[in-house]
């Protein structure tokens, strides 16, 4: 099993470690509910160094990325980031990813750890554009500093203007005396904050520096379990749960990152789905009966007929109720529709809602 540069640091902090996407990763430090609320109310730091980083360079970079991703990469200017996905040519999704425009003809792709090898082969197999691809996944550590106090936690470590950094933009520069660190205003929690890409050899020094500088904001390390509950409260898709090779971006509600203004893999098929609709759609739901929905539980209508299945579910620590996402037949997607989750043979009532489940106060 692979280890991130911080493996021994997590163990020393008393983290519970689990195998995840081929890496030994911290799933929790003190408890998922505590850690979740820490991010919602204060600030937390996640080691997500297992994520993959590819660099795409040269004249062929833009045409290659336009062809393999669903979003319109030509809209990106240096310093901007785009959420996108890789359609698989068969109506499914190879992976979802972030595309960073570093400079003209130079991009960084951030992909899921479990898909690094698959994505690498997939993108290379379509590189008839002579773009220069480099897989730097093993060279980079990635820390997510998330929560309303993220700026307070980080501001003494860099001259970058973190406070003014707009969502889905980034800067590259000096961070705690290390050059060329990428700091982006992105994350997977819905509580704001930053993601910080650092070379592995500096990873431990920077992690310790963030914990020390962040003490003023009471920063704490957060594990993957809370990362999952935080993203699920926002209705963000998780590859392997809510999207995969059997789900289309349109079914998954990712039409907003599928742009038909350009040619790309599966364009015609997805355009057809967008125009004429799909048989099923990904929806969010809240339990009104007791019980927590789990991946693969069947979803039924009130007549007891199976209309879909759960892809993600949890007890929401912020809302203190059980929430989930799943695919249902298109006649059941309207908010307020009553559905039933088959919890090991027992039908439990739930209601379709439009994510995000959690909204910051005042929004």
């Amino acid at each position: 099993m692979k280890k991130t540069a911080l493996n021994h640091v997590h163990k020393a902090l008393g983290a519970k470690m689990i195998p995840f996407a081929g890496y030994e990763m911290p799933v929790s430090y003190t408890g998922v509910i505590d850690e979740h609320l820490q991010v919602r109310e204060h600030v937390g730091i996640f080691d997500v160094s297992h994520m993959g980083e590819f660099f795409v360079k040269g004249e062929g970079a833009l045409p290659l990325l336009q062809y393999v991703t669903s979003n319109d990469v030509s809209k990106l200017t240096p310093g901007k980031i785009q959420y996108s996905c890789l359609p698989d040519g068969n109506g499914g999704i190879v992976d979802d990813l972030l595309v960073y425009c570093l400079e003209e003809n130079h991009y960084m792709l951030v992909v899921n750890a479990s898909n690094i090898e698959k994505d690498w082969k997939w993108i290379n197999s379509h590189n008839s554009f002579d773009a220069v691809l480099t897989d730097r996944s093993d060279d980079y550590a990635l820390f997510a500093v998330q929560g309303p106090r993220a700026v307070l936690a980080l501001r003494t470590l860099t001259d970058m203007n973190l406070k003014e950094m707009k969502y889905y933009t980034f800067e590259q520069g000096r961070f705690f005396n290390v050059e060329d660190v990428i700091v982006s205003a992105t994350g997977y929690t819905g509580s704001g904050g930053f993601e910080i890409y650092v070379p592995n050899r500096e990873a431990e020094r920077i992690w310790e520096a963030i914990l020390a500088a962040g003490a003023v904001a009471e920063i704490k390390p957060i594990g993957l379990a809370a990362r999952d509950t935080l993203r699920l409260e926002m209705g963000f898709c998780l590859y392997g749960n809510d999207i995969d090779e059997t789900t289309s971006p349109i079914e998954a509600g990712l039409g907003w990152i599928t742009k038909f203004s350009k040619d790309f893999i599966d364009k015609e098929r997805l355009q057809e789905q967008k125009t004429h609709g799909t048989q099923r759609r990904l929806v969010g739901f809240e339990m009104t009966d007791r019980g927590i929905p789990r991946q693969a539980y069947p979803i039924m209508n009130k007549e007891g007929e199976t209309i879909g299945h759960v892809t993600s579910g949890t007890q929401s620590p912020s809302l203190d109720k059980a929430i989930g996402m799943g695919y249902v037949a298109t006649t059941y997607i309207d908010p307020g529709t009553e559905i039933f989750i088959d919890m090991r043979g027992k039908p439990r009532k739930a209601v379709v809602v439009r994510p995000p489940f959690y909204r910051e106060e005042g929004e």
Partner: protein, 125 residues
Amino acid sequence: MNIPQDLKYTKDHEWVRIEGNTAFVGITDYAQGELGDIVFVEIETEGEELDSGEVFGTIEAVKTVSDLFMPFAGKVEEVNTELESNPEAVNDEPYGKGWMIKISFDDSADLSELLDAEGYKEVVG
């Protein structure tokens, strides 16, 4: 890890406190730690006679769900209703306020499979 000497244990990470022909059952400190934050304990078998290994309830943590098994044959006499409003008691005091059911049993119940504290310590390594 807390494994009290005066209790018996199962390989399913439950503890049993035997008092004459009744027994209290809960999950071990190790089990609550592995499950993480517990949010529901659902036991709908009060009054039922169940066989050894039969499911008497389920426990839902944020991350996962787990069945609860009868440590030996008996009747579910009482359910700890406090857990409905305070399921985190299982995390905080697995051997105390976090108890789950009280069983009555007769001489036909087979207690020979139960482990003592030393035996359970080997199970959890």
